[in-house]
């Protein structure tokens, strides 16, 4: 299904401490969008606002002109899936059951073979089938991250939100996960929005990049227009060399800008 996501004037703060100020953007269907910005700039908060994990104090989020802030929780979960940065579980749960939870918006109490089949398919897709019966808590950080991505994939939502999905992955697995997400976006025609720290990874894979600073969007557009030496200097206070590599800007941070 083709779906368009719009955020209008999102305002949010923890206890009257403003974090997001009038955030606006619009994302066309079947796009991979990354949100970049310094630590504490509000990337995770924005993602949580979109998924209504926290409720924005103002503004609205529209999916296909339907307002997310007025939907029931279960409907939100049918439209949006979310991959947290990490997750701890107090009680032991195996990987299979952890991923099966993502089917919650679609299944009845008994569950079905079809749902289990979908979990197996995603396990195979992410190449973690052999971990299916392992305890989630005993996996490495990167393996856990893949399991959380798998849980969001079986949720089969129109929009996938990912909070730094590659932060714990080695370079091979970073490319693996990014490729998988890009392919899912294209083939299922869904939208993926992810917070990312690696600017080069963002530049390589994104259709569009949103750059944030202190709760505001300072630049948005295709990688070439956002990943520039000027933007990086003003947003990150880092002097960087930017070179094009097969039409995508690549950056090499050189030194901090002090004062």
């Amino acid at each position: 299904m083709m779906i368009k996501l719009q955020a209008k004037d999102i305002i949010f703060g923890y206890d009257s401490n403003p974090i997001l100020e009038n955030v606006n953007f619009e994302i066309a269907p079947s796009r991979l969008v990354t949100i970049v910005g310094p630590n504490g700039s509000g990337k995770s908060t924005l993602i949580k606002c979109i998924d209504r994990i926290v409720s924005p104090q103002g503004g609205s989020i529209l999916i296909d002109r339907k307002d997310v802030t007025k939907m029931s929780r279960m409907d939100v979960a049918r439209y949006l899936s979310y991959v947290p940065q990490s997750s701890v579980r107090i009680f032991p749960t195996n990987v299979f059951d952890t991923i099966l939870m993502g089917r919650r918006p679609h299944i009845g109490w008994l569950g079905s073979d079809g749902d289990e089949e979908k979990v197996w398919d995603v396990l195979r897709l992410l190449n973690i089938e052999r971990l299916a019966m392992s305890n989630f808590n005993e996996l490495s950080g990167g393996q856990q991250q893949k399991v959380l991505i798998a849980r969001a994939l079986v949720q089969e939502a129109e929009v996938m939100l990912l909070d730094e999905p590659t932060s714990n992955l080695d370079i091979w697995h970073q490319l693996d996960v990014m490729n998988i997400i890009r392919d899912v976006v294209k083939k299922r025609e869904i939208t993926a929005i992810m917070a990312l720290h690696d600017l080069n990874l963002a530049s390589t894979y994104s259709d569009r990049i949103i750059m944030m600073k202190r709760g505001r969007i300072v630049a948005a557009g295709d990688p070439t227009s956002v990943i520039t030496a000027e933007n990086i200097a003003s947003v990150y206070r880092v002097e960087a060399a930017v070179r094009n590599l097969s039409d995508r800007p690549m950056i090499m941070p050189l030194r901090q800008i002090k004062g």
Binding site: I53, S81, Y82, P84, I90, M101, D121
Partner: protein, 375 residues
């Protein structure tokens, strides 16, 4: 590239899935099948064990009754044409031994499922009706009801209602406390201990001022143990069970998801706060009713869910019934030991469960320091 294909063409690939189901399964798929089988098998076998143990425990006591006679006596009630026993045996079974066992099973079952769901919604392995002070709240409600006077408002409903309101009050207090940032599992249990002391003190104080009639009510309600259970009050208890058990079981998926944390739960469509409050209301009702009829029974609600989780993992569709049945098993066994170990002296049920439960509780506390339980 091959591994992508199965996924993206989801529906058209049903054929591929089917061929896999029919033929070659990978090792880990077989392991998963085995796991599902063991899980179901475990629940069924502990249920069977419960029935077997019932027959065995009926035989314990001064009057000699064989296992066969025990079952015959039970079944003769329903099919008098097929089973025959002596009147005396039947009387002892139906009036003395079986009620106590049924009481134990019901109380253990109720406390087991309460502990199980409380641990899930509070994400706290040390949670149980007793350790969080909810039984103490119910107990306090009974004392208050006795002092205000049951005769005014009439009957058991007022006492149970009052116990429920007080238990609920404790539950909401615990929820509020758990919502505070940085409140650890241990903090909640400490709060539970404080609540326990507080309510026990007030209950004692009330006793001090109570008239004889009020005292009689207080001891009749809630201070007893399994000996206080009778067929007359089983009906109300059963009614509460019939309402609460399906309600809790229907929330199985939400409970599974809640153990992953509130944020994850919300993103999968579970309203974490609502579910938590709903679960605590239902458990408060169950706990209050159990305390009214059988008094405070410690630790069963803590131990049973952990035992179940060790064997069958975290799926509450199985975990809730398994915790209940294990709770029943633990309580009826502990009680049978207490009844018969140094007969004719009877050790009260609460003492027996504490003797079993406290070492276990300490073990959990120690393990919790490493932030993992049964892993």
């Amino acid at each position: 590239m091959i591994r992508y294909r199965a996924f993206f063409h989801g529906k058209t690939d049903a054929g591929l899935s089917r061929s896999r189901r029919a033929g070659k399964k990978s090792g880990v798929e077989l392991a998963h099948e085995r796991f599902k089988f063991i899980r179901l098998f475990f629940v069924l076998s502990i249920a069977a064990l419960l029935v077997l143990l019932t027959g065995f425990i009926i035989t314990l006591g001064p009057l000699n009754i064989s296992v066969a006679d025990a079952y015959s006596a039970l079944l003769a009630r329903f099919w008098p044409d097929y089973f025959h026993v002596e009147t005396l045996t039947s009387r002892v079974v139906w009036n003395i031994r079986f009620p106590r066992i049924v009481g134990g099973i019901m109380a253990g079952f109720g406390l087991g499922i309460c502990g199980c769901v409380m641990q899930a919604v509070l994400k706290n392995p040390l949670a149980s009706p007793f350790t969080l002070g909810i039984t103490a709240g119910a107990q306090f409600g009974i004392s208050i009801a006795a002092v205000i006077g049951v005769s005014i408002f009439g009957g058991p409903y007022f006492i149970i209602g009052n116990a429920f309101v007080c238990a609920l009050f404790c539950s909401l207090f615990i929820i509020a406390l758990a919502a505070i940032k940085g409140a650890t599992s241990e903090n909640l249990v400490l709060a539970g201990i404080a609540v326990n002391y507080f309510f026990t003190a007030i209950s004692q104080l009330l006793k001090y001022f109570a008239s004889d009639e009020q005292l009689r009510l207080m001891t009749n309600w809630g201070m007893g143990d399994l000996a206080a259970f009778s067929w007359a009050n089983s009906r109300l208890l059963l009614a509460v069970f019939v309402i609460c058990f399906p309600l809790l079981l229907s929330k199985s998926w939400d409970l599974n998801i809640m153990t992953a944390g509130d944020e994850a739960a919300k993103s999968i469509g579970v309203d974490a706060e609502k579910t938590r409050i709903f679960i605590m209301i239902v458990t408060s009702l169950l706990v209050a009713t159990i305390v009214c009829f059988m008094g405070t029974i410690a630790f069963v609600g803590l131990v049973a869910p952990h035992m179940a989780r060790m064997v069958i993992g975290g799926d509450h569709r199985f975990l809730i019934p398994a915790s209940g049945v294990l709770g029943g098993l633990v309580l009826m066994s502990a009680d049978a030991v207490g009844m018969n170990m140094i007969a004719p002296t009877i050790i009260p049920t609460g003492i027996m469960t504490s003797i079993v439960g406290v070492p276990f509780f300490m073990y959990l506390m120690m393990k919790g320091k490493r932030k993992e339980f049964w892993t």
